[in-house]
């Protein structure tokens, strides 16, 4: 595609075109799915050149694949980054980021308002491998600063925290990180680049569970890790992994190889190569299909969510709705600043009454699907007290910010009126179950 404008194309155009052109071999307009493990070398010298990073190209699909590369370029373009790596899941993307920058003896400062899987990885699993994490309340700015140690390698939070949609003050936390020569990693799954581009606020690394809004149809599990190229690893002095010779790749010094792409080089040449949590090209294609309509879907997700939030906030059976666009949310002002296009379509509300009433509510829903996922085009619901947190008593639930009647919704793309009818019916059922 020839470009003649004075600036890069807009978001919607990039969502369709970044990283992809008609296939030169076949003329195929859509991105081909390259379901092949490996790629034929032209000759021995070509093979050696590819292995030694003298030429760019594909060798083996664990390390790179043409379909995955389109996805990687596209997400990087939408985020405003220098490149990306597609991974087997969002969890794999988080692990790849951490494993590239930290090892035994390292320390991470993370928001306490994290997805449960991320919390498990940091709190239980990585501590077994010698990586320790201090959790801080995301709104407690002093706590972020106070938790940093000489061995800290990373600050980490979610654009919208779990379960209360705490809005991460990215520019403030990034400034603290940068004062200490540290990067800020952000999980941007709930917001997607359509609602917010964390790099524009100072974040250095972003990852997504592509399982959610990027793919958008509840069909695949995948992740994408993106580098802004803004963090100066050499100036930091804390990352010998990127600034000194790596014996695992012929003594390569990644920061010399690429002034702005050192992180991704090491992540691909070490983490993807050795841990192997790569994405299937078929998955990459499905995520690409989703991204092509991401702007349209996110607009509708948000529009539907606003209507449903308004409905629930005015219902007698609802004691509270946790959505940052409401003035009652503690991060309302910050959300207005960072998320003018909307605060996504995943939120929780509190049903008045007991656990049993919460269960009755869930069981009366017909359009909402009761399952453990978010970011589907279909509307989803879960009752944490009877599922993900069922082992906890009410006191422990309260500690986690969850009530016996807390319900989490992920609003899909159906007619908002039908969703509201479904909720009305279920609220009535909950009332009767008293």
């Amino acid at each position: 595609m020839c470009m003649a404008g004075y600036s890069d194309p807009g978001f919607d155009t990039l969502a369709l075109h970044a990283g992809a052109a008609p296939d030169p071999a076949t003329g195929a307009r859509a991105v081909p799915i390259h379901l092949t493990t490996s790629f034929v070398f032209e000759n021995s010298d070509h093979a050696a050149s590819l292995f030694n990073m003298e030429r760019s190209g594909h060798v083996y699909s664990r390390i790179s694949n043409p379909t995955n590369a389109v996805l990687e370029e596209r997400v990087a373009a939408l985020e405003g980054g220098v490149g990306a790596i597609a991974t087997a899941s969002g969890q794999a993307a988080l692990h790849l980021a951490i494993a590239t920058l930290a090892g035994a003896g390292s320390h991470i400062v993370a928001s306490s308002a994290l997805y449960g899987g991320s919390h498990n990885l940091l709190y239980y699993t990585l501590s077994r491998f010698g990586i320790e994490t201090t959790f801080v309340k995301p709104r407690d700015i002093d706590a972020w600063r106070a938790a940093i140690r000489p061995n800290t390698r990373l600050l980490f939070g979610e654009t919208l925290g779990n379960p209360g949609l705490d809005v991460l003050d990215i520019s403030t936390v990034a400034a603290i990180a940068h004062e200490h020569g540290l990067p800020l990693l952000v999980d941007s799954t709930f917001t997607t680049p359509y609602l917010m581009r964390p790099f524009e606020h100072g974040a250095d690394l972003v990852y997504h569970s592509a399982t959610k809004f990027l793919s958008g149809h509840g069909t695949v599990v995948g992740g994408v890790l993106v580098d802004s190229g803004q963090f100066d690893w050499e100036a930091s002095g804390r990352f010998p992994e990127l600034t000194t010779p790596y014996e695992g790749f012929h003594g390569m010094v990644f920061s010399e190889e690429s002034t702005v792409g050192a992180f991704l080089l090491r992540a691909r040449r070490e983490g993807l190569r050795d841990f192997g949590a790569c994405m299937s090209p078929h998955t990459a294609w499905l995520v690409l299909q989703g991204i092509e309509t991401l702007p349209l879907r996110m607009e509708r997700h948000v529009a539907n969510t606003r209507k449903i939030v308004q409905f629930l906030a005015g219902h007698a059976m609802v004691s509270g709705v946790g959505y940052p666009e409401l003035q009652s949310h503690p991060d309302h002002a910050l959300a207005q600043k960072l998320l003018p296009r909307g605060c996504g379509s995943v939120f929780s509300f509190d049903l008045k009454g007991s656990r049993r009433q919460g269960q009755a509510f869930i069981e009366a829903l017909r359009l909402f699907s009761h399952l453990a996922n978010v970011g589907d085009c279909r509307s989803l619901v879960i009752h944490p007290a009877s599922t993900t947190h069922f082992r906890m008593d009410d006191a422990a639930l309260a500690q986690a910010g969850i009530g016996p009647g807390t319900i989490r919704l992920s609003i899909g793309l159906e007619d908002a009126a039908d969703l509201i009818d479904d909720l009305k019916r279920a609220l009535k059922a909950a009332e009767k179950a008293q």
Partner: protein
């Protein structure tokens, strides 16, 4: 590798191998608001195929200390001093954009020491519009975005640089911003573009060049229009190679085609 050139520390990337001055040497010179890292694939290839490689960071750019030098002539002198510091008697010079003018001037100043000259993404004169110079001076980040867009011909150049999964527009923008931010004394963007704009010695230098010369041009280059090379090509008796579909960022947009062109040019 670090060298001391004209009293300041200079960084040179050597292609992933120790520098051996006894081997035929290839010197890579970057353009405005860039550094050595635009050359890494090519530098690694030549370093692992019988050459020694010096991919420089120009003074005041990225890892090289010292003030940015004010004209192409001074930069050519600096480059020749760097070759002395590295113990290199003769070298092939490969320059991109502003770097191509530095290579030309150096080849004209010390003809016996230059074995081959390759000018990549070049034009002469390399005039910069008053509007762009003004934007570079007053709003350099905006100017970076404009130039970055002009420098890429496609949203999907394959196989990408430095490897698959890299978004070239993002990489170009991030590098320019990093190099700009790394020079706190002056506005390096305006400085570099002014250096290109002011250079008037190209045809004179071309008349003194003795080695074979190749121009490698992007077919869709919007920064240095391939049509603006005819007089220079004539003066240099140069061979011109046009890379189909490529824009100004040839090293990133067409690394394989550029490698082939340089293999031929430096043979």
């Amino acid at each position: 590798m670090k060298l001391v050139v004209q009293g300041h520390e200079a960084y040179v990337y050597t292609g992933g191998k120790s520098f051996d001055p006894a081997l035929p040497c290839v010197v890579f010179i970057h353009g405005a608001l860039n550094d050595h890292s635009v050359w890494t694939l090519l530098a690694r290839w030549f370093a692992h195929h019988g050459h020694s490689v010096l991919a420089v960071d120009l003074p005041g750019h990225s890892r090289s200390a010292g003030a940015p030098l004010t004209d192409v002539e001074s930069l050519a002198d600096w480059l020749l001093a760097l070759l002395d510091a590295a113990g290199v008697q003769k070298a092939a010079l490969v320059g991109h954009s502003m770097g191509s003018l530095i290579a030309l001037e150096a080849a004209g100043r010390e003809p016996p020491h230059v074995t081959r000259l390759a000018m990549v993404g070049t034009a002469y004169p390399m005039k910069v519009s008053e509007g762009l110079l003004t934007t570079a001076r007053e709003a350099p980040l905006k100017a970076i975005d404009m130039v970055n867009t002009f420098s890429h011909s496609s949203l999907a150049s394959k196989p990408s640089f430095p490897g698959p999964g890299a978004w070239l527009h993002g990489g170009g923008r991030a590098l320019a911003r990093r190099v700009l931010a790394g020079q706190r004394e002056i506005n390096l963007f305006h400085h570099d573009f002014s250096v290109c704009d002011r250079y008037a010695g190209g045809l004179e230098a071309a008349g003194r060049v003795q080695c074979p010369v190749t121009l490698v041009l992007g077919e869709r280059d919007q920064m240095t229009n391939p049509k603006q090379t005819r007089e220079l090509a004539q003066a240099l008796k140069a061979r011109a190679i046009s890379i189909p579909g490529a824009g100004h960022s040839l090293m990133a947009e067409a690394p394989d085609a550029l490698l082939q062109a340089l293999r031929d040019a430096l043979r």
